[in-house]
């Protein structure tokens, strides 16, 4: 029975709602009775409880005049009706709410009322403490500092807190907007609080705990919000969000929807997805269409992009409705096996594959790195060797057979690495030059050229063995450190030795950090100016090919011809790496760019090179620069380039003005060279010295090249020479994929020689190709490769012009012809005049290889092509050049 004594209405009403809370309701009411601020009234609304809640309430409030109770006659099924009833049954200026299984802090009413009166805000919010972790709800994002009188539009992050119970409301504000809890709606808080925020003129926050939210784990009776397996539950939640969406749109607040959506993904959706693996198929069948519909309503898919990786992928897969992929992703997240192999790489990044996703949207499914588990077994450790069997299990990985693993032990302190040799999973480390200290394991995963280096951590390994080996001077042991890194420790026995080593380590580090700078030192400059003054030697010839990287091309052949002519020339070769240069005998080799190189350059009468060395030394009168160039021009170059900048042209000019002679292979090229290089000097239209080989076709060279690659007689040889697409960093990926495919489709009665750009070649070094695919990229002279090849596959490379001398079939594999033409532009109309078939995909290429008789149709075109571009080639080009230049 309620007390009807008339008194002045208290300033604050607390509306308590209860349904079957017999264990807790007394504590809730107690916390109100013992509030530090006394002038409150409490309206308890009992939602027709079936347990002792009702009688406990009656018993408690019997002697408390400020407490009233309303017993609802039927259960409303939610919190809306009870709360609205409480609002209706009171008149105070301010209203707060309390759920019957929670409780307030001792001074909650006092601090909230003070804040409400002090700030005058429509709503004031306080901190909520959850009793499982005793953490403050959204402390970092919202409740860390006091915020006074802001509008939700100034601080939309507030939307994350959708609770209605930790706030004090001005009744006038509720009435003015007719704001009530929507009846018949579960998750009424989402709507009510969302509306309240956007309708309020001002909101304030006090960073003070006022509300304890009881979280019961292992609950025998779950409260309303915890029964997530029921699909109705999910429908309710989405509905309440729908109501809020509509409200926001209709009230002109749609620009803030993304904040509300963000909360939906990160909090609401995540709750349901966490339980996904436990629900039954019936639930799933209803869940997917529901969420897919909702995600297409007021949400733009780009709102997923900034979410955390797992949530982003979850949202996107639900958005496109690929249920199988979603299910697999759930398995993947929980380290369970997936039905299909889903993780793959597209050249730029790893992603989770779904067949329903267009390539442009792959970035929504981007995965930072593949998940894997490492098995280390049969660990065997001695003083100078560490051996173990390793097995890397890449989770859900497609194409795992092309993955390579490189194991590394690295001591970061002294920057020393030891690499393990990998024999089919058996890893062997040679520890003989292991230094004292800690070495940690790193694993580099190489997938078709794309590398990812990972620090091996203890939780990636499924078991670890601890072994210690005691040697004469030191002990080696395996261990795990406090950062969970797995390592090998090398500890010296003697303490003194250990200290001495540590000192040396510090000195070494200090020395390494000092910058070395000798290139432009004073002494160098002095010497250079001295050399310049020395006389020019008439019989000195300086050769360079491909910036010193190669012993090949026209300079090589001119060199050989000059040697044969028996004239007394001193020949000097400029090399990038003197020791690796494939030239023996009594020839001077100098490191390109060194002082020695400079000396020879300023004193040699003849410079013979195929790129441009004019910037390496000033040219003196009397010196003769023979520019041999390195191919018939295909791609637009020099002044003909569309995007030639003034700086580039200036640089070009500084080179070309030093040329005295320029070799052209054919009339077509002469015209182009003159125009593109703005070259006014003498042109030797003689054919290319390097192509003499292809006319003469010496058996000795053929034999040498074949035996270098161990090619048995009778096997057909195909040369594959794709160009480097320099506008696309990741084009290597496509090429490697093609090579992989080729290796499977081409039988081993055919040998494929790969001639790749050096940037590409390095990526293929580690990949173990099948025996009939040979990486010939670093073979010193490509002309010899032409000689032994029966067929050429290329695209936009000027190798076609040289190869045409042999009049053997050429196949053009131009899968990106349009793109190439756009980016590079050609002098030569590939589509019109190509001397062989142009294939747009690998399948077509393979077809021509399998049935080479189809190439007969191109024979005539090849003939014409050869005549036009190789008409001058008669095997005498070198002689002709020497006759004209070396007088």
């Amino acid at each position: 029975m309620s007390n009807i004594e008339q008194k002045k209405t208290p300033e604050l009403t607390v509306v308590v709602i209860a349904y079957n809370n017999e264990l807790y309701v007394e504590e809730a009411l107690e916390s109100l009775y013992y509030q530090t601020f006394k002038d409150i009234e409490v309206v308890v609304v009992n939602d027709n409880s079936t347990d002792r809640t009702g009688e406990l309430i009656e018993a408690y409030i019997a002697d408390k005049p400020n407490f009233r109770v309303v017993h609802l006659e039927t259960n409303s099924g939610g919190c809306s009706v009870p709360r609205n009833t409480g609002i209706f049954n009171s008149e105070s200026q301010y209203v707060m709410f309390l759920d019957g299984d929670d409780w307030y802090t001792a001074n909650a009413c006092e601090v909230m009322l003070n804040a409400a009166k002090r700030t005058g805000s429509d709503i004031v919010a306080g901190q909520v403490i959850r009793t499982n972790t005793y953490e403050t709800w959204y402390k970092r994002q919202i409740y860390s500092v006091e915020r006074t009188n802001f509008n939700i539009r100034e601080f939309p992050e507030m939307i994350f807190d959708s609770l209605s119970v930790n706030k004090i409301y001005k009744r006038e504000f509720l009435e003015r907007n007719n704001l009530r809890f929507q009846e018949g709606l579960h998750y009424e808080d989402v709507l009510f609080t969302g509306q309240a925020y956007f309708l309020a003129n001002t909101i304030s926050i006090i960073p003070v705990p006022i509300y304890y939210w009881r979280v019961v784990e292992n609950a025998k009776v779950k409260s309303i919000t915890n029964q997530r397996q029921d699909i109705k539950n999910f429908i309710n939640r989405i509905n309440s969000h729908r109501f809020l969406d509509n409200f926001m749109i209709e009230s002109g607040n749609s620009i803030y929807l993304s904040y509300k959506n963000n909360k939906f993904f990160r909090h609401d959706l995540r709750l349901y997805v966490n339980d996904y693996l436990d629900v039954d198929d019936e639930y799933k069948a209803q869940f997917h269409p529901l969420i897919q519909d909702y995600l297409h309503e007021n949400i733009n898919k780009y709102e997923f992009i900034k979410l955390a990786e797992d949530l982003r992928i979850i949202c996107y897969l639900l958005y496109i409705g690929d249920r199988e992929a979603f299910q697999d992703y759930m398995y993947y997240l929980h380290d369970l096996p997936t039905k299909k192999a889903r993780i793959t790489h597209n050249g730029e990044f790893y992603y989770f594959k779904s067949d329903m996703v267009p390539a442009v949207d792959q970035r929504f499914l981007k995965v930072a790195s593949p998940k894997f588990e490492i098995g280390i077994e049969d660990l065997y450790l001695t003083e100078d060797k560490l051996v173990f069997n390793s097995m890397v299990d890449l989770k859900s990985f497609a194409d795992y057979e092309v993955v390579l693993y490189k194991w590394e032990l690295r001591n970061k302190a002294i920057q020393h690495s030891i690499f393990g040799k990998n024999h089919n999973g058996r890893i062997e480390f040679d520890l003989s030059d292991m230094l004292p200290g800690n070495y940690y394991f790193y694993l580099t995963i190489n997938f078709l050229g794309s590398e990812k280096r990972v620090l091996v951590k203890f939780d990636m390994v499924n078991q670890m063995e601890y072994i210690k080996v005691e040697g004469h001077k030191n002990d080696i042991s395996t261990f795990v450190n406090e950062k969970n890194m797995i390592g090998l420790n090398n500890q010296l026995h003697s303490e003194v030795g250990d200290l001495v080593w540590k000192m040396r380590k510090r000195v070494r580090k200090f020395r390494n950090n000092r910058v070395k700078n000798t290139k432009n030192s004073f002494s160098t400059r002095l010497l250079k100016s001295f050399f310049y003054k020395l006389s020019v030697k008439n019989n000195w010839v300086l050769f360079e090919s491909q910036m010193g990287k190669q012993f090949s091309d026209n300079p090589k052949y001119i060199f050989e011809e000059l040697q044969n002519s028996n004239q007394n020339y001193k020949m000097i070769w400029s090399c990038e790496n003197v020791n690796e240069f494939p030239l023996d005998g009594n020839i001077t080799k100098v490191k390109r760019g060194s002082l020695k190189h400079y000396y020879y350059m300023t004193r040699s009468k003849y410079w013979v090179d195929n790129q441009g060395i004019g910037h390496l030394a000033p040219k003196k009168k009397g010196q003769v620069y023979l520019q041999t160039w390195h191919g018939t021009p295909l791609k637009k170059m020099g002044a003909d380039k569309d995007n030639a900048t003034p700086e580039e042209m200036k640089k070009l000019k500084s080179q070309t003005k030093k040329w005295d002679y320029f070799i052209s292979p054919n009339p077509y090229s002469t015209k182009i060279f003159k125009r593109a290089f703005k070259y006014t000097g003498k042109v030797l239209e003689t054919g290319y010295p390097r192509n003499d080989l292809l006319v003469q076709q010496p058996e000795a060279i053929k034999k040498k090249a074949r035996s270098y690659f161990n090619i048995p007689d009778g096997k057909k040889v195909i040369l594959y020479a794709p160009t480097f697409r320099d506008w696309n960093q990741n084009s290597y990926f496509d090429t490697l994929r093609d090579i992989n495919r080729m290796s499977k489709e081409i039988g081993d009665d055919t040998i494929v020689l790969l001639r790749l750009h050096y940037l590409l070649a390095s990526k293929i070094d580690d990949i173990q190709l099948p025996g009939h695919m040979i990486n010939a990229s670093s073979y010193s002279d490509v002309q010899e490769l032409y000689l032994i090849s029966d067929m050429l596959i290329t695209d936009y490379s000027s190798v076609m012009f040289d190869y045409a001398v042999l009049k053997r079939p050429i196949i053009f594999y131009c899968y990106d012809l349009e793109e190439y033409l756009y980016y590079r532009g050609t002098y030569f109309d590939l589509k019109e005049d190509s001397p062989g078939p142009i294939c747009s995909n690998l399948e077509e290429v393979l077809d021509f290889i399998r049935r080479p008789e189809q190439l007969e149709a191109y024979k005539e075109k090849l003939e014409q092509f050869s005549k036009k571009y190789c008409g001058l080639e008669d095997g005498q080009a070198s002689k002709r050049v020497i006759k004209q230049v070396f007088k």
Binding site: E27, S31, T131, Y134, E482
Partner: protein, 389 residues
């Protein structure tokens, strides 16, 4: 059962904390079953008796009462010219080497036989480092505090360094084990403390005692002041009840002061240390615990094992492992004397509730019964020993 070699490693075997008490219970039980039990104590308190049975052999590592200081880095101190710090550190390292050799010699007595080493406190691990690589020695590390408490202390780094490599790392509660598992420990397990006392008592008799009781060291962290505050709030609602606080420690003076201020001389009593906790449990009604932080408090376990309902602050995951809210006891938020006091009234005034809680408490405390725990240790030994080649 095959005779096992079991070594307990403690900081001070004759200290009087919960850790020593628990160890002594286990030692007694293992010895009774015929196993070869030894104690390796890093240091000892001078002239103090221990909980341990005289029959068990105790080896003190530092007989000269050398107490190892914390380690210090050498080179930073050298650079700052702090030579005496450097020389002290060098001395410490030299002593460490000697002590480690002594430890290895100690373990030689077992030959190649399997030995189970139970490390009660992580401080001792620095002397056992080399044993990690011996195949026959299975080290089981224990932490007797909650994850939070460990995390905020200097012990945490040691735990990360040593306990990750031991055969097993035992925590007191599932929640604590999970926290460590998340950090990458794949050798965690849970082991409760066994109770010394277990007695089924009559609820009516207990209730008639009309006594709140608290047992434990009198230090600030144990929150006895909270108990006095709470009692003070409800002293008039419970006119026949009193509060007995057992134990001693530096907080004694402060508590005495509170009693004076609130004029509770005839209601609240500081009873000093007790040697016979069982008697205390027989004469009490409800056990109170007001701590700010705990591991798995022995007093709660013992009280529940003696049919006493408990009121405790929810200060650690361990509390909920012992007390089932609203079934065997009540929980209050740390520091909230108001809520605590309301719980006291709730239980003291309602005998039906009290009786239910008392009966439930005795039943649910079965999992701390010493035989039950002993069997769990044996299962653990089997699990750990199974990996031996």
């Amino acid at each position: 059962m095959q005779k096992k070699n079991i070594v307990f490693v403690l900081n001070e075997f004759n200290g009087h904390g919960g850790a020593q008490r628990v160890a002594s219970i286990l030692v007694d039980d293992f010895v009774a079953d015929g196993h070869n039990v030894k104690i390796l104590s890093i240091n000892e308190q001078l002239n103090q008796p221990s909980y341990f049975n005289d029959q068990v052999e105790v080896t003190v590592l530092h007989e000269d009462n050398y107490r190892a200081p914390m380690e210090k880095a050498l080179f930073p101190n050298l650079k700052s010219l702090k030579f005496n710090v450097v020389s002290k550190e060098l001395k410490r390292r030299a002593q460490l080497k000697k002590s480690r050799a002594k430890v290895e010699k100690f373990f030689d007595q077992f030959g190649e036989e399997m030995v189970y080493v139970i490390v009660i406190q992580v401080w001792g691990m620095q002397w056992l480092e080399n044993l990690l690589y011996k195949k026959n020695i299975k080290i089981i590390g224990q932490s007797h505090e909650s994850f939070e408490a460990a995390f905020n202390s200097h012990r945490f780094k040691r735990i990360q360094k040593y306990y990750i490599q031991t055969a097993k790392f035992l925590l007191l509660t599932e929640k604590d084990a999970d926290r460590f598992k998340q950090l990458g420990f794949n050798n965690v397990g849970v082991m409760h403390n066994p109770t010394t006392y277990r007695k089924q008592q009559d609820a009516r008799q207990l209730w008639e005692n009309k006594t709140f009781v608290s047992i434990g060291r009198l230090i600030e962290d144990k929150g006895n002041d909270l108990l006095i505050e709470a009692f003070n709030k409800v002293k008039d609602q419970l006119p026949d009840w009193k509060l007995d606080i057992y134990g001693d420690g530096e907080d004694y003076k402060h508590l005495k002061l509170l009693i004076d201020i609130y004029d509770l001389h005839d209601r609240v009593f500081l009873k000093g240390r007790t040697e016979n906790a069982l008697e205390v449990y027989e004469q009490a009604s409800i056990l109170l615990l007001g701590s700010k932080a705990e591991g798995l408090p022995m007093t709660l376990i013992e009280a529940q094992s003696c049919s006493l309902p408990c009121i405790s602050t929810d200060c650690a995951p361990g509390i909920k492992e012992i007390i089932s809210e609203y079934e065997t006891g009540l929980l209050a938020t740390v520091g909230d004397a108001d809520q605590f006091s309301r719980h006291m009234v709730r239980l003291a005034k309602d005998f039906t509730k009290f009786e239910a809680y008392s009966t439930n408490a005795y039943m649910e405390s079965q999992k701390f019964e010493r035989n039950y725990i002993k069997q769990q240790w044996y299962s653990l030994f089997d699990e750990v020993g199974a990996h031996h080649e």
